[in-house]
């Protein structure tokens, strides 16, 4: 299966009540790429997916699959595979019936349908489940059947709407890596919507972060995390510590609780860093504060350190040391992990 590029040009979609779900969106999904659309609810991510699917028609703008303009084509003629949030399996058909539904429409002979059906059941690891009723399946099995059904007719692109949201945490983790392997193995162009940053980072080749119907940032997961385009992206993807700068000193920047190293020229108003980049020191550090909270999270501990700012600092520590409540904590930070953001 070779992928098709998806291109949105100036797509805009408003709803009948006047709210604009998507503002003039330009987007290219490369052939074979997996794009994650990430954002809080109501940011337009689902609408974007539905524009690509053909379930919504843009008010302005065009949608291309490869070189063909599919803007006017309804979903049934776009040749897309779609996995819905609650899977939308047909309850009146058994597992095999669901999988061959699209194949019947394409006029495959019963022999070809059965062959393709068993191929897909094997692909998603449900070999013996063809005759099962949908009601007998667990959540994870339903998700796999939905995926098999979407892939059966060899669609040009695969679209997934919150594919893992309906599952419990442990299963989600496992199916996430299965899905990742599957998408990479098939090389199919795929777009999925999620509000879970971990899912977006793990599965997406690139992530499109959306905020109120606009693109906040479109970049690789690493770039999104390390060089977030603005404060919204930075706070949505991972946790963030903000340091309002009090004044520029000869060595760095004076902030509540101490002084940060700074090499740049213009002193910014606020500098930021990630919780895992603050190191707990024995005695000397750039910042000092009082421990106000400590949460054991297995591989790491999350510490809350009050340095006299509005919010306590978040510190992710992997040294396994248990501190006394209220202990004085010294924190060190490297200058290269500090960054600034456009608000």
């Amino acid at each position: 299966m070779t992928g098709t590029t998806i291109r949105l040009e100036g797509c805009r979609k408003a709803f009948s009540d006047g709210t604009v779900a998507v503002h003039d969106l330009n987007l290219t999904v490369e052939a074979g790429e997996t794009l994650a659309i990430l954002g809080p609810s109501g940011c337009g991510k689902t609408t974007t997916l539905r524009l690509i699917a053909g379930l919504e028609r843009p008010d302005v703008g065009q949608v291309f699959f490869g070189d063909s303009d599919v803007t006017r084509l309804p979903i049934e003629r776009r040749d897309v595979g779609m996995v819905f949030q609650n899977y939308a399996l047909f309850p009146n058909l058994d597992v095999a019936g669901n999988i061959v539904y699209g194949l019947k429409i394409r006029g495959l002979s019963p022999a070809e349908r059965n062959k393709r059906c068993s191929e897909l059941l094997e692909l998603v690891g449900l070999q013996d489940h063809g005759k099962r009723s949908i009601h007998e399946l667990s959540g994870g099995q339903r998700q796999r059947v939905a995926l098999a059904r979407a892939l059966a007719p060899r669609p040009r692109v695969l679209l997934l709407d919150e594919p893992l949201a309906a599952l419990d945490a442990q299963l989600r983790e496992r199916l996430r890596s299965e899905l990742d392997q599957l998408l990479r193995g098939l090389g199919i162009t795929s777009v999925f919507v999620t509000h879970d940053q971990g899912e977006a980072m793990a599965l997406g080749d690139r992530i499109l972060v959306m905020e109120r119907g606009r693109v906040a940032q479109l970049a690789s997961p690493r770039e999104i995390y390390q060089q977030p385009a603005n404060a919204f992206v930075a706070s949505f993807v991972g946790n963030l510590n903000a340091f309002p700068v009090i004044e520029r000193t000869s060595h760095g920047l004076k902030v509540s609780g101490g002084e940060l190293p700074w090499n740049g020229d213009n002193p910014p108003a606020i500098v930021y860093c990630r919780p895992e980049h603050l190191r707990v020191m024995d005695s000397q550090g750039h910042l000092r504060g009082c421990l106000v909270g400590q949460f054991f999270q297995g591989a790491q501990s999350r510490l809350l350190v009050d340095v006299g700012a509005a919010q306590p600092l978040l510190v992710d520590s992997t040294d396994g040391v248990i501190h006394a409540p209220g202990a004085l904590i010294a924190l060190a930070v490297e200058p290269q992990v500090l960054f600034t953001l456009q608000s």
């Binding site: 049934e76 779609m82 939308a88 429409i105 979407a150």
Partner: protein, 264 residues
């Protein structure tokens, strides 16, 4: 196990109410099998009345069955797409239409029948055929199918299922027959059950719309009450019950099985 006096009292009351309603039915059935009702059971039991009724009124039985089947079919063909359209539109117009559809039920049957007669009475061929009664029955029973079908459609997340079917390449027609109809079978069946029962027993409209050659069972029943011996009328009732009770039980069983399947 010790029962409270309250329980015993309630049980007695329930049984009394049941008896109050069932005894007349049993009396009537018995009357149809008694040689001479005025002399009582002592005159002996007989199937003669049943045979006599069958000889006189068999055509009304067949016509009623034919009407009920045709009515169920027509109501399905009209009602299921109508329910689908109403559920999908779900605006002020569709709600008004839903109310309008119930009007023939709220109105006295005689009035609707009169309206039909005034409008279509002059078309002789149509007026004298059984199809004229069919029109009345369809009008009257339509909401009894549309309502339960709509209720099931609203429960079933049909829009998402339809989107899923569309994503697999199914056009509107195919979606309707492969997704919508199979997934509201329980509602359709419940509706058909109601429609068949109502059509078999419908009297008001039918009495106005029938001709001597298009008599249904309930009309024939009225006829026999008015003109024949009490035993004949009772035997006729017996035939009606023999016809409708197994039908009700069968349909009830099917819908029970379907709703069990849904709950799994």
């Amino acid at each position: 196990m010790k029962r409270s006096t309250l329980f015993v009292g309630q049980l007695a009351f329930t049984l009394l109410v049941c008896a109050f309603m069932l005894v007349p039915v049993l009396m009537s059935l018995l009357a149809g099998l008694t040689r001479n009702y005025f002399q009582g059971i002592s005159s002996g039991l007989t199937f003669d009345w049943l045979v006599q009724v069958w000889q006189a009124y068999a055509p009304t039985v067949w016509l009623s069955l034919q009407l009920a089947a045709a009515c169920a079919l027509c109501v399905c063909v009209v009602g299921v797409p109508a329910a689908y359209a109403l559920v999908r539109m779900n605006n002020r117009f569709s709600r008004a239409f839903e109310e309008l559809m119930v009007l023939p039920v709220a109105m006295p049957g005689l009035a609707s029948a009169l309206a039909l007669l005034l409008t279509y009475g002059q078309f002789g061929g149509f007026r004298s055929s059984w199809l004229f009664i069919l029109v009345g029955h369809v009008l009257f029973t339509l909401p009894f199918l549309v309502r339960p079908v709509m209720a099931v459609m609203q429960r079933q997340h049909l829009p998402v299922l339809e989107e899923a079917a569309a994503s697999l390449g199914a056009g509107p027609f195919r979606r309707f027959f492969s997704v919508v109809v199979p997934n509201c079978q329980a509602g359709i069946l419940a509706g058909v059950l109601m429609v068949v029962t109502l059509s078999l027993g419908e009297f008001n409209l039918t009495w106005m719309l029938h001709t001597p050659l298009t008599k249904t069972l309930p009309v024939g029943l009225a006829d026999s009450y008015a003109s024949a011996r009490l035993e004949v009328a009772s035997a006729y009732t017996l035939i009606f019950l023999l016809m409708i009770v197994p039908l009700l039980i069968a349909l009830q069983a099917i819908s029970a099985r379907l709703s069990r399947g849904e709950k799994r």
